[in-house]
Every structure is written in structure tokens, then in C-alpha cells.
Symmetry: C2
């Protein structure tokens, strides 16, 4: 719209992720802010998690938080990024059924655990681009890592070769998300087992082999 380059210094949007001065003030700010987020989440829950509250609690200025994290979703994304183990792998229980149940138990835990980080992130993701992107990346990574349980099952002859790993994994896990997040039924841990078993059965019958 305006042709003239701004005479004043552009406020420059800094990067939330890789800090360019890793040992310095920025890193301290990051620490204090993310700590404040988790503390608030634990003590007062998602509803109390406002940018202002985080700024107050951390002693970092409002503006700085907005510039580096953009909104509450961005803050949660930051916490998730930090909490995500780079070396996570699905358990190997020796059977597809067992592997899927183990995965589903983790999902169930993540969705019901305290602090409600995952739930809060999902809620935020509907309004916050940073949160949506963080979740997308997180799930993409997890589903990729989980594909190995399907490969193992194929190797064992439990399911036909050509089984679509992602489709099978989604079929196994989706009911847990659905019951807990959308239907909000007080689903117990048994659901994790039932859903995993059903998916394993369908997979064995060749339901996830593309024509």
C-alpha cells in the first residue's frame, strides 16, 4: 500500500523457535515465560491462561510475549515443543494389538492428564495459527513414528502387506480423541483397549489395504 520504506526501524518479528543468542537475555526470557505458562496451567487451568497473566507472572513485558509468541496458542505451542521428547518411540509389545493398546493408553493419558496441555492446545488450535501448526507437526511426527508398529505386524504376518499404516493408526486412535474431546463422555481407560482391538481386527481382515 505505502510505497516509501519506513523511515523508522522496523520492529522486526523475532523467531520464537531457535534463539539466536542462546545463552543470553532472550533465553532467560524464554525460560521464565514458558515456566510461567506451565505454572499457570497447573495452578489455575486453561481459562486463566491469558497473555497478560503470563506476562505478569514471568515478569516479562506484555509486548515481548506478544512479539515472540503471538498469542496464547503460541505459548502452548512453545511448551509442547519443549516437552516433546525427540527420541520418543512406540513400545514393542510383540503384537499389533498390544502395540496399539499401548499407544492408545498414551493418548488417553495425554488427554486426561494434568496439566491439560494437549487439551488446551487443541482448544487453542481452533483460533490460533501457531497452536494449529504445532499440533499438526506434532501429530505428523507421532503418526510417522508409530508406523513401525504396523511394519512389525506385517513382518509377523498379522496383517496383510500393503496395509495403510496411517489409516490403521487413525482408526485405532480416533475413537479415543472423539469420546474424550468431542463427545466428552467420561470414557475410561477400557476405551483405549476396545478401540485398539477393533482396529487390529479390521486390519487383520484387510480393511486398510488400498485397492
Amino acid at each position: 500500500m505505502d510505497e516509501s520504506p519506513p523511515a523508522t526501524r522496523i520492529p522486526d518479528p523475532p523467531s520464537p523457535g531457535p534463539v539466536r543468542r542462546p545463552g543470553g537475555r532472550s533465553a532467560q526470557v524464554r525460560r521464565r515465560v514458558l515456566d510461567a505458562v506451565t505454572a499457570l496451567l497447573v495452578e489455575q487451568g486453561y481459562d486463566a491462561l491469558t497473555v497478560d497473566a503470563v506476562a505478569d507472572r514471568s515478569g516479562v513485558h506484555r509486548t515481548t510475549v506478544y512479539r515472540r509468541w503471538r498469542d496464547v496458542g503460541g505459548l502452548l505451542a512453545g511448551v509442547l515443543a519443549e516437552a516433546t521428547g525427540e527420541d520418543w518411540r512406540p513400545r514393542d509389545t510383540g503384537s499389533l494389538d498390544g502395540d496399539l493398546v499401548a499407544i492408545n493408553r498414551e493418548v488417553h493419558e495425554a488427554l486426561t492428564g494434568d496439566p491439560p496441555l494437549t487439551g488446551a492446545l487443541i482448544a487453542a488450535s481452533f483460533r490460533s495459527p501457531p497452536a494449529a501448526e504445532a499440533l499438526r507437526a506434532f501429530w505428523a511426527d507421532r503418526y510417522d513414528r508409530c508406523a513401525v508398529v504396523v511394519h512389525r505386524a506385517v513382518a509377523r504376518g498379522e496383517v496383510p502387506a500393503g496395509t495403510d499404516a496411517r489409516a490403521l493408526l487413525v482408526a485405532a486412535t480416533a475413537p479415543v480423541y472423539h469420546e474424550l474431546l468431542l463427545l466428552r463422555s467420561g470414557a475410561d481407560a477400557a476405551l483405549a483397549q476396545r478401540a485398539a482391538r477393533a482396529a487390529a481386527l479390521a486390519a487383520a481382515a484387510g480393511a486398510f489395504v488400498p485397492v
Copy 2:
């Protein structure tokens, strides 16, 4: 906390649902507001749907909207309640597989259709009690009505007696919700079919019969 009853009139929370004076001003207000909600949703999308915008558009005062619907989620809940056909029934295609596919197509449509009422409601439900409750009730009703497809399948001998209808229906539909709402993959209509087929297969194998 305070012992003395308030000297002034209590602002009284009116009921959004059953209007006590059905022919009068309240009913007109309701009409104008809900019409404004759908109009805004169609024309400008969910993000533009603010209480203020609805109030302006409808000519009803802000305060009145807040009092009767509480928040944006409440407004969406009102529209859903009105749009929900009291006589909805799942199609009867003659096979469990076909019935589930038909249901899943409707789910897919609801989640991708325009206006994005369902999607908006789900997004809102994470922050708005009225929206959450409206969805819960809506889904409870729909899953109840859909149970008949399972009963028919049992009668036809497609699945064992004792099959848990709700569990089967959740297994069939959850992947569609999961892909479209949470994973936000651009899932096509084929997903509806795949998910339904997998659930039907698992059901035939007895995956949804409680021990």
C-alpha cells in the same frame, strides 16, 4: 459471601430455549438474532461472528444478546437447535456397510459444508458451555437414532448379537472427525467410505461385542 439480599431487582437470567411469551417481543428478538447469526456465518464466516456484530446486524441490544445467549457459542447452539430436524433418521441401504457409509457421508458434509455451522460449534464448544452442551445433546440424539442400523445388521446376521451399537458407530465416524477437525488433512470423501468399511469389518468379526 454477602448476607443481605440485593435491594435492587435481580437481573434474572432468562431462558434462551423456551420463550415464555411465545408470540411477543421475545420471539421477535430471537428470530432477528438467529437470522443475523446465520447471515453473518454465511457471508463472513466464523471469525466475523462476534456478539457485537450479531447485535448490530439484528438491531437487538448487546446486553440482551449476552443475557439470552451468553456468548457466541450460545448463539451457534441456538441455530443448531433450530436447524436440527426432529424427524431425522439414518438411511436404510440394506447393508451395514452401506448404512455406515451413508452416515459418514453426512458427517463429512456437515464438517465441510457451508455455512460451517458444525465446525464453528465444535470450535466454540471448547470455550463455551452452551455450545458444548448443545453439541453433547445433538450427538447423543444422533447416535441414539443411528443405533437402528446396528439392530438391522444384527437382524440380518451381519454382525453378532450383543454388538455395542454406540461403540461401532463411534469407530465408524471418529476417523472422519479426527482427520477433518484435528489432523486437518484435506481428507476427501473416500475417507468416509474407508472408515465405515473398516468398522463394519471389525463389527462382523465381533470386535464390538462386550465380553
